[in-house]
């Protein structure tokens, strides 16, 4: 089957990539675009390790195919870094020690990023529910929860 040229915005930049149209977005990002932030875990939409934002909303990139991404806006964990350095969420996750092995982190950070946009002052219940689609195989959930609470506080201070 012929490959197709898929064009989309990736971390703020226009990209076009020649790929099999049924190839999962996760593998387009990793194989064809060299961005290995999004991780393959279950590859069945259950673990959240491959979470990226598409048009600003978190999705499991293992379940989207290249053809669906044409013309859309994709943000991966790599896209959170700016000239000023790490994003607030990334910074706090590192400071608090949220990662143990770290494999789930890119996905959880993308979910947390989206959560904080929707709930600037989330309750513990809201956090648990929102990141329920992300599994941490080390079971470091208390620190992850703490990191998200602190990230929310820092973001609010920054907004002032």
């Amino acid at each position: 089957m012929p490959k197709k040229l898929v064009k989309f915005t990736l971390n703020g930049e226009q990209v076009s990539v020649l790929v099999a149209p049924a190839k999962p977005l996760l593998w387009v990002l990793r194989d064809d675009l060299g961005l290995t932030g999004a991780k393959p875990g279950c590859e069945a939409g259950e673990c959240g390790a491959c979470t990226v934002l598409v048009d600003g909303e978190p999705v499991t990139s293992c379940l989207m195919i290249a053809a669906q991404v044409d013309g859309r806006d994709v943000t991966t964990v790599e896209g959170l870094i700016s000239e000023d350095g790490l994003d607030i969420v990334q910074e706090v996750f590192a400071k608090v020690g949220a990662p143990q092995c770290g494999y789930c982190m890119p996905g959880i950070i993308m979910s947390a990023k989206s959560l904080l946009e929707k709930f600037p002052d989330p309750s513990a219940g809201e956090i648990r529910k929102y990141v329920g689609g992300n599994i941490c195989r080390c079971g470091n959930y208390p620190r992850i929860l703490q990191a998200i609470v602190e990230a929310a506080q820092n973001a609010r201070v920054k907004l002032g």
Partner: protein, 293 residues
């Protein structure tokens, strides 16, 4: 990784007419991808073999929720589960359905998965389905020849089997709003709250007279029969019965006896039956707590 997907052709129609033409031409040779949350997993696990997919995510014309002049809520089949949850028509007038959707999968999967996809998939454990039985839903399916509107109760033939022909797609879901004086609930049990398939689920719609009597009821059971089913025996018992705690329990046991669950990786048949009774009992108790005799 690339190899297995490299063989698959992908159609990307931008209108419903185009999509139906592809179906008329290819029939079961092409697999519809609405949100992809079922198809992608099935493909990866080798459960289906497919040379061609048709991605419907660009069909904006099938993404809507509106109250019709016919006093039915009309939901475009490609409306994502997330959009359903953030829509006020749905949360206010279809609370049973909204409750069911709020616990489905995860945020990430609800952002992709569509209501039409959950129905077309035809799983008896699909959480959008019992609420449609309880709220008197219809499914509108279309082909290049015609549209037809089918009651949700006539739509499913068995696990993963529906009345849809290979050249048809689901265009719309219609659901009767729950009036302010009517009540309803959706309860489910799963092995964890997020990202888990229902072991059993119960959706109920109830109409009560000003007294202590239920005048009308629709009770639907999920994941405990080849399709979602109505517990008609329990509905009959509920109508015109004085509401006591003991009575509500025997009605719940009646509903469980109307199910025909199987044992699988998630639960045994016996457990599913017990859970069904417990779910219905809890829902009925919460609903009628203040009016029990």
């Amino acid at each position: 990784m690339d190899l297995s997907y490299a063989q698959i052709e992908v159609y990307t129609p931008s209108t419903c007419d185009e999509a139906m033409k592809v179906l008329a031409d290819k029939g079961s040779g092409v697999r519809i991808v609405a949100g992809g949350t079922e198809v992608m997993v099935a493909l990866r696990n080798g459960l289906i073999e497919q040379n061609a997919l048709m991605d419907l995510s660009r069909l904006g014309e099938l993404k809507y929720i509106r109250m019709g002049d016919d006093n039915l809520i009309h939901i475009g089949a490609l409306t994502t589960l997330s959009t359903c949850l953030s829509n006020r028509i749905l949360t206010e007038h279809a609370p049973i359905l909204a409750e069911a959707i709020s616990n489905m999968a995860s945020v990430q999967v609800r952002n992709l998965g569509t209501i039409g996809g959950n129905i077309a998939n035809g799983s008896p454990a699909g959480d959008t389905i019992p609420p449609l039985y309880a709220q008197t839903g219809n499914i509108v399916v279309s082909s290049t020849h015609a549209d037809r509107t089918v009651s949700v109760e006539d739509f499913f033939l068995g696990p993963k089997r529906t009345i849809m022909k290979p050249d048809e797609l689901i265009k719309e879901i219609q659901v009767r709003p729950v009036a302010p004086e009517e009540r309803g609930f959706f309860k489910r049990f799963s092995l964890r709250n997020a990202q888990a398939c229902s072991v059993a689920s119960v959706a109920a719609w109830l109409k009560k007279s000003s007294g202590k009597v239920v005048t009308d009821a629709r009770i639907a059971l999920g994941a405990v029969a080849p399709t979602v089913i109505r517990a008609k025996g329990a509905e009959l018992l509920l109508k015109a019965a004085p509401l006591t705690k003991e009575r509500l329990w025997s009605i719940s046991e009646k509903a469980a006896s109307e199910s025909s669950p199987i044992t699988d990786v998630r639960a045994t048949a016996e457990y599913r039956r017990s859970v069904t009774a417990a779910l219905l009992f809890r829902g009925l108790l919460e609903t009628f707590e203040t009016s029990l005799e």
